[in-house]
C-alpha cells in the first residue's frame, strides 16, 4: 500500500523556472525546473521517499505527476511548492470567487509515490489535458 | 487644403479689437487670410458668434497622475461612456475622460490648444504618449521644477545661469513647454512627510526657502526669455488664510521685468487663484480673499492669473502638491493615491465631491466667480477649472453662463443650502458685472495665448495666424432670454476649424485634424558644469540611465511644433 500525505500547495516563481521559460518551454530543462514539487524534509520523511522520486499530486481539481525534491527555501513543513507552470496549474484551485484571480496559492493536495510514472514535458502535458493531438 | 469663408458672423477678436461686428473670416492653407477665392467653401454664420479657437492654459489631461485617476476610479466611467461613433473612438470618464474623449470634448466646445499643467520630467514619455492619443487639439506640457534637486541646489547659491542651462536641457529632453512650480519646496519636504506652508519655511536638508526658489526660477525663466513665464501653484493651497501666502508669493515678482521676444508681459502666472484666495482661520469662519488677491494683481501688470472655478461636481483632484492631497484625504476620507518621484516631484490623487449643500464648497464656487468679476483686465485673467481639480473642463460653458449672467448666478445662489453663508462670507451677491462676449474672448483666447507667448500664432483671427476658429450658435445682439442658452451654445459649436481643417460640424467631430505637440527648444551656451552635474545625478541617484531619459522619436512626439528660443547671446 502506498503512503499518502496531505499538504497545502502553493505555486510561484523560481529563478530556475524563469531561466527555463526563456530557454524554451518545449525543452526538457523546463520540466526539470517546474515539473517538480519542493517538499520539506519532514514531509519527505513522512512520505518515506528519497528525493528525485516521481510522485502523484492530487487535488479536488486534478492530478499530476511531478518529481519530488527537497526544498532549499525551508523549513516549511506542511507546505508544498510547485513552481508556476502547467504542472502546478493542473491541480490548483481555479476558483476566482468573483475577483477574476484564481486561487493559485493554498490548494489542499495529497501526495503519493508514483515512481514509475513519467513526468510529462510542459507542452505535452497541456496538449494531453486539452485533448489536442501532437505530432 | 480646402479654403473656407465664414460669412456674416459676429466676430469677437481682442487681437484686432473687433467687438462683435459682422465680419467674414477667410481660411486658406491652414491660416487666416484677408480673402479667399470664389471656390472657397462658405459657412453661413449669420446670427452666430465667431471667435478664435479657445486656448486652455492649465489643465491636467495627460500623464501619470491623470491615468492613475482613470485606473483607480472605475466609478468615474459610470454613465459617462461613449460608444464608437463616426470618426470617434469609444470613450469614457466624466472627471478624467479617456484621451480620445478629452480631444473630442475640447474640440466640440471650440478649444483648439491645451496645456497639460504638470509633467513629472521622469514621466515625460508617458505624458507624450497620451498627448499623441488626444486627437485634434494642439498640446504642450509644463515640466514641474519647483522641487527639482538641480534647481534646489543651484538656487541655494543663487546660481541663475546654471538653473537656466538646466531648464533648457530639461525642456529639450522632456519636450516641455514652460517652467511649472508646484508648492515650491513643500513637495520635496513631503518626501519625508513634511510640508512648507509659507514662503520662508526652509526645505529639509536643502537649506533653501520657497521664496528663493520662486524668485530664482523667475530670474532663470527671464534669463532664457521663454515664451511663457514661470507658472506657479504657491505654497499653502486650499487652507483658510492661505491668501496671505499667495500675496507673499506674488510680491516676489515685484520689480521684475520680462525679457522675451514673444510679446508676453508678465513674469509670473498664478494658477487656480480660487484655491489660493481664502481668508479665515478655520473651515467655520472661512471666507473669500478674492478682493485682496485681485486688488494686488490689478495693480501689478507683471502678473497674470487663471481662475480655477469650482463647478459643483463630483470630481477627481490631482496635483503635484503631494502633502495637500494627504491633507485632503484626511478631510474627506476618500481614497488616496500618491506618487513620489525621485529627485523631481510628487503627485497625489483624491476624489472630491463639491456639494452645493456644503457651505465651504458653495463659498469656493463664489470665490472662483468673484476673481474674474473683480479683475479689471480680461487679458490678464483666464478661465480655468484647473481640470479636474475644481471641476471637469467640460463644464466651461456653465462657468461662462455664471459669469455672463447675474440671473444665472442668483439662481445658483438661491439653490445653495447655506445661501446666507455664501452671501456673508463672499461678495458674490453684490457683484453685478456680467462678462461680455468680448471679455470672454480675452479670458479664453487672446489672453491665455499672450501669456503663453503664442500671441502671434493663436488666440486671434488676424490674417497670418493659425486658422483656429470656433463658431457658436448664439446671437450676441439678441437679449438672452434664458441663461441656459449660453451654456448650450458654448457646449457644442456649430463649426470648429483647427489649423484650417474643419474638425467639428454641428457639434459632431468630422475630422481628427493634425494634432501637434508644442514644445520650446532653447539654444544656450555650452555649460560644462551643468552637463557634469546632470551626468553625476544619473549615475548616482536616478533609477534610469541618462540615455534612457529623453522622450525621443516618432512614437512620443509624432508631430512636433518647436518654438525656438536663442539664449546664446545672453
Amino acid at each position: 500500500m502506498t503512503k499518502t500525505i496531505t499538504l497545502n500547495l502553493i505555486s510561484g516563481r523560481s529563478i530556475q523556472q524563469g531561466v527555463a521559460i526563456e530557454g524554451g518551454k518545449e525543452k526538457a530543462d523546463y520540466r526539470t525546473a517546474a515539473g517538480i514539487i519542493e517538499l520539506d524534509r519532514a514531509d519527505l520523511k513522512e512520505l518515506g521517499i528519497w528525493i528525485n522520486t516521481n510522485v502523484r499530486v492530487t487535488s479536488a481539481y486534478g492530478s499530476v505527476i511531478v518529481k519530488a525534491i527537497e526544498t532549499t527555501q525551508g523549513p516549511h513543513p506542511g507546505v508544498a511548492f510547485i513552481p508556476m507552470g502547467p504542472w502546478a496549474n493542473s491541480i490548483v484551485n481555479p476558483n476566482t470567487y468573483s475577483t477574476g484571480m484564481p486561487t493559485f496559492k493554498g490548494t489542499p493536495v495529497t501526495v503519493e509515490v508514483a515512481a514509475n510514472e513519467p513526468v510529462l514535458l510542459g507542452i505535452e502535458l497541456v496538449q494531453k489535458l486539452c485533448g489536442v493531438k501532437s505530432a | 487644403m480646402a479654403e473656407y469663408l465664414i460669412k456674416n458672423g459676429h466676430v469677437f477678436d481682442p487681437v484686432q479689437g473687433i467687438k462683435g461686428d459682422k465680419a467674414d473670416v477667410a481660411i486658406k492653407d491652414g491660416k487666416i487670410v484677408d480673402k479667399v477665392g470664389s471656390s472657397a467653401k462658405v459657412i453661413d454664420a449669420k446670427g452666430m458668434t465667431v471667435m478664435a479657437g479657445a486656448v486652455e492654459i492649465h489643465s491636467h489631461i495627460a500623464g501619470p497622475k491623470v491615468n492613475l485617476g482613470r485606473i483607480y476610479r472605475p466609478e468615474d466611467k459610470l454613465f459617462s461612456c461613449t460608444p464608437t461613433h463616426g470618426m470617434e473612438r469609444m470613450g469614457g470618464g466624466a472627471s478624467i475622460p479617456t484621451t480620445f474623449k478629452t480631444g473630442y470634448e475640447y474640440a466640440k466646445m471650440g478649444y483648439t490648444t491645451a496645456m497639460e499643467a504638470a509633467m513629472p520630467p521622469l514621466f515625460s514619455r508617458h505624458v507624450h504618449e497620451e498627448i499623441r492619443d488626444t486627437p485634434i487639439i494642439d498640446e504642450g506640457a509644463y515640466p514641474v521644477l519647483g522641487n527639482n534637486w538641480f534647481v534646489l541646489e543651484y538656487l541655494r547659491n543663487h546660481e541663475v545661469e546654471n538653473t537656466a542651462a538646466y531648464i533648457a536641457w530639461l525642456l529639450k529632453v522632456t519636450k516641455g513647454y514652460a517652467v511649472k512650480v508646484v508648492n515650491p519646496g513643500g513637495t520635496e519636504a513631503w518626501a519625508w512627510g513634511l510640508n512648507c506652508l509659507s514662503i520662508h519655511d526652509p526645505v529639509p536638508y536643502f537649506d533653501i526657502t520657497p521664496a528663493q526658489i520662486v524668485r530664482g526660477l523667475i530670474e532663470a525663466n527671464e534669463y532664457l526669455g521663454l515664451p511663457h513665464s514661470m507658472h506657479i501653484h504657491p505654497n499653502d493651497l486650499g487652507n483658510p488664510g492661505c491668501y496671505q501666502t499667495t500675496l507673499d508669493t506674488l510680491a516676489l515678482a515685484e520689480g521684475l521685468k520680462t525679457h522675451n521676444k514673444f510679446g508676453r508681459e508678465q513674469v509670473m502666472h498664478l494658477t487656480h487663484t480660487q484655491f489660493h484666495s481664502y481668508k479665515g482661520t478655520n473651515w467655520a469662519d472661512f471666507e473669500s480673499g478674492a478682493k485682496e488677491v485681485t486688488d494686488y494683481v490689478n495693480a501689478h501688470k507683471n502678473i497674470t492669473i487663471d481662475t480655477g472655478n469650482v463647478t459643483l461636481d463630483e470630481t477627481t483632484t490631482m496635483t503635484a502638491d503631494g502633502p495637500f492631497e494627504h491633507h485632503l484625504t484626511g478631510l474627506n476620507h476618500l481614497k488616496w493615491a500618491n506618487v513620489d518621484v525621485e529627485l523631481e516631484t510628487a503627485a497625489g490623487v483624491v476624489p472630491y465631491i463639491y456639494s452645493p449643500n456644503i457651505s465651504v464648497c458653495a463659498i469656493q464656487w463664489a470665490i472662483g466667480l468673484e476673481i474674474p468679476l473683480m479683475m479689471k483686465d480680461g487679458m490678464r485673467c483666464y478661465i480655468t477649472t484647473d481640470h479636474p481639480n475644481a471641476g471637469p473642463f467640460t463644464r466651461y460653458p456653465r462657468v461662462f453662463k455664471w459669469l455672463m449672467s447675474t440671473k444665472a448666478r442668483e439662481a445658483q445662489i438661491n439653490a445653495f443650502k447655506h445661501k446666507d453663508k455664501v452671501l456673508s462670507q463672499t461678495s458674490i451677491g453684490s457683484l453685478d458685472r456680467e462678462i461680455t462676449f468680448y471679455e470672454l474672448a480675452q479670458m479664453t483666447r487672446a489672453g491665455p495665448a499672450k501669456s503663453l507667448g503664442l500671441s502671434a500664432i493663436c488666440g486671434g483671427l488676424k490674417p497670418g495666424m493659425e486658422a483656429d476658429v470656433a463658431v457658436y450658435n448664439i446671437d450676441p445682439d439678441k437679449p438672452i432670454a434664458n441663461p441656459d442658452d449660453i451654456e448650450k451654445a458654448f457646449s457644442r459649436c456649430a463649426a470648429v476649424f483647427k489649423s484650417g481643417v474643419q474638425v467639428v460640424s454641428n457639434g459632431e467631430i468630422v475630422s481628427n485634424g493634425h494634432k501637434r505637440t508644442l514644445w520650446v527648444d532653447v539654444k544656450t551656451k555650452e555649460n560644462a558644469q551643468v552637463k557634469r552635474d546632470i551626468s553625476e545625478k544619473f549615475v548616482k541617484y536616478y533609477s534610469v540611465t541618462q540615455n534612457n531619459y529623453e522622450a525621443l522619436g516618432h512614437h512620443f512626439v509624432p508631430n512636433p511644433f518647436a518654438i525656438e528660443v536663442d539664449a546664446t547671446q545672453v
Binding site: 476566482t96 | 466611467k77 479617456t98 504618449e129 519625508w192 534612457n548
Partner: protein, 438 residues
C-alpha cells in the same frame, strides 16, 4: 569586430533594468554576449539566437502536425476569426510594447472584443484594491535614495526580480542612504524561508493564507492596542517589534507580490496592506508598491486606461468599455464558456492559467502570437512567431513603478519576420476592410 550597445533595457520582469550591455556582431545580426543582466534576462537575450527557432506562422493540422503558412495567410485567418466572433478574448499584451498594445486596442474596438492582460493572474487583485483604497507609492529611485525600512511581503525578488535588491531596494547607496544595506532594516513576510527571507533582519513566517490577519495585527500594534498571543503563526511580541521598526524609520516601503494577490482573501489582503501603509503615514513616510511581473504588464494597464478607462478585464462587446472583474476577467470568461475566439499575444495562458481555463481555448478558433513555442501555441490553431520585443525591436514599456522606459532594438530579427506591431497593423487594416470601415 564587434559592437557594444549600452543602456539596453531588459525585457523580462517589471524591474525593467536599463543598464544592460549587449555585444553584437559587426553586421548587427548576431547577439554574442550580454553583460549586467540577471541570469534570466541573459537567457532571454541569448535565446533569441536559437538555431531551432520557428520563424514563420504555422497552422495546426487535424493530425497534430503543423503546416507553415505565410504571414498574409496568418493575417487573413486572424482577421476573419475576429470579424466572425461575437465575443472574442484578446489576452496577453504584457510582453509587448505600448505601440503594439495601441494597435491591438484598435482591433479590439473594431471587433468588440474582451481585452485583458496578465494582471488577470498576477496583480489584478491589486488593481481592485487600488480602486477600493488608493495607493500611496513612489518611484524606485525614491527607495534607493531614501528608504531605511523595506518590507517584502509575499514576494521573493531573489528569484522573481533578481536585480531589484541591488538596483533599488536593499543594497544601493543613495542620496540619503549612503551606507547602502547598512542604512536599511529589511522585513520579509513569507510562509517559506525564501532566499529573500534569508537576508532579512526579521522574517515573519506567516501561516499560508493568513496575511490579512497579520496585516491587521500590525495595524493594531501600531495603535498600541491589545493583541492575542499569536496571530497567523507569529507571536504578539514579534508583531510589536516589527511595528516599532516600521514606525521608527524615516522612509519605508512595502513591496508585495503573488503571496498576497493569489492567496485566499485576494484583494482584501491588499486593502489591508494599503491601509497599513496609510496608518504608517501618521508616524513617518511610507509607500507601497506591487512587484509587477512581466516587463510591460504595467504598460498594458496604462494604455488600456488612457484609451478605455480601465486597467484590465475590459469588455467592449456592447460597443463601449465595461469593467467588472469576476465577470469580464479572462479566467471567468473562459471557464464559463462565453468566449468564441481566442487571441493571445505576449503571454502564455496555456502554462499559467488553471487547466480548466485552458481547455476551452483548445476547442476555439485561436491565434497565439509569440516568438516562443509555448503550451498556448501548442493548443492554438494558428501560431504566429514574431520578433522578440526589446531585443529585435524597440518600443515603450512601463516599469513596475509606472516609469516609462523606451526599449532598444539590439539585433535584427531573422529575415522576413514581423514585429508584433507590424503583424497587428496588417490585421487591423484587413479587419477594417472586412468590417467596411474606412
Amino acid at each position: 569586430m564587434t559592437k557594444t550597445i549600452t543602456d539596453v533595457i531588459c525585457p523580462f520582469c517589471g524591474t525593467l533594468c536599463d543598464d544592460v550591455e549587449v555585444i553584437v556582431s559587426d553586421d548587427g545580426k548576431k547577439l554574442l554576449e550580454v553583460n549586467n543582466a540577471c541570469v534570466i534576462g541573459t537567457e532571454k537575450f541569448l535565446h533569441s539566437q536559437a538555431k531551432d527557432r520557428v520563424t514563420r506562422p504555422r497552422m495546426h493540422q487535424e493530425d497534430g502536425s503543423w503546416k507553415e503558412v505565410s504571414y498574409d495567410e496568418a493575417v487573413e485567418y486572424t482577421a476573419q476569426m475576429l470579424a466572425k466572433a461575437r465575443k472574442p478574448l484578446m489576452y496577453g499584451w504584457s510582453s509587448t510594447n505600448c505601440e503594439a498594445q495601441s494597435v491591438g486596442n484598435e482591433i479590439a474596438e473594431l471587433s468588440r472584443a474582451c481585452c485583458d492582460n496578465t494582471a488577470a493572474v498576477c496583480h489584478g487583485t491589486t488593481l481592485i484594491a487600488l480602486q477600493d483604497e488608493g495607493l500611496p507609492s513612489c518611484t524606485l529611485g525614491e527607495v534607493k535614495n531614501r528608504a531605511d525600512r523595506v518590507i517584502f511581503w509575499g514576494c521573493n525578488p531573489a528569484h522573481a526580480h533578481p536585480r531589484h535588491m541591488s538596483r533599488y531596494s536593499i543594497f544601493p547607496r543613495g542620496f540619503f542612504t549612503g551606507k547602502g544595506q547598512m542604512s536599511r532594516k529589511l522585513i520579509v513576510v513569507d510562509p517559506r524561508t525564501t532566499d529573500t527571507a534569508k537576508m532579512a533582519d526579521i522574517h515573519l513566517q506567516v501561516e499560508q493564507g493568513r496575511d490579512y490577519e497579520l496585516l491587521n495585527a500590525l495595524r493594531v500594534a501600531l495603535r498600541g492596542e491589545w493583541l492575542p498571543d499569536e496571530v497567523a503563526g507569529i507571536s504578539a511580541e514579534k508583531i510589536r517589534e516589527a511595528a516599532d521598526i516600521l514606525k521608527s524609520g524615516r522612509f519605508g516601503i512595502i513591496f508585495f507580490g503573488m503571496g498576497v494577490t493569489q492567496s485566499i482573501s485576494k484583494n482584501h489582503n491588499i486593502d489591508e496592506a494599503i491601509a497599513l501603509t496609510k496608518d504608517l503615514n501618521e508616524h513617518t513616510k511610507f509607500s507601497i508598491m506591487p512587484m509587477r511581473g512581466h516587463y510591460n504588464v504595467t504598460g498594458s494597464g496604462e494604455v488600456f486606461a488612457w484609451q478605455f478607462g480601465f486597467p484590465y478585464a475590459v469588455d467592449l462587446t456592447r460597443g463601449f468599455a465595461r469593467y467588472n472583474p469576476g465577470d469580464t476577467s479572462s479566467i471567468d470568461l473562459l471557464t464559463r464558456g462565453e468566449i468564441d475566439a481566442m487571441f493571445t499575444i505576449g503571454s502564455d495562458p496555456g502554462a499559467h492559467f488553471p487547466i480548466s481555463a485552458v481547455k476551452p481555448i483548445a476547442n476555439l478558433p485561436s491565434v497565439c502570437i509569440d516568438p516562443h513555442l509555448t503550451p498556448t501555441s501548442g493548443v492554438s490553431k494558428l501560431h504566429v512567431p514574431v520578433a522578440f520585443n526589446g531585443v529585435e525591436t524597440g518600443g515603450n514599456c512601463y516599469r513596475m513603478d509606472n516609469v516609462p522606459i523606451d526599449c532598444r532594438k539590439v539585433v535584427e530579427p531573422p529575415e522576413g519576420m514581423l514585429t508584433d506591431e507590424q503583424f497587428l497593423t496588417k490585421v487591423r487594416d484587413r479587419l477594417k476592410e472586412l468590417k467596411g470601415v474606412a
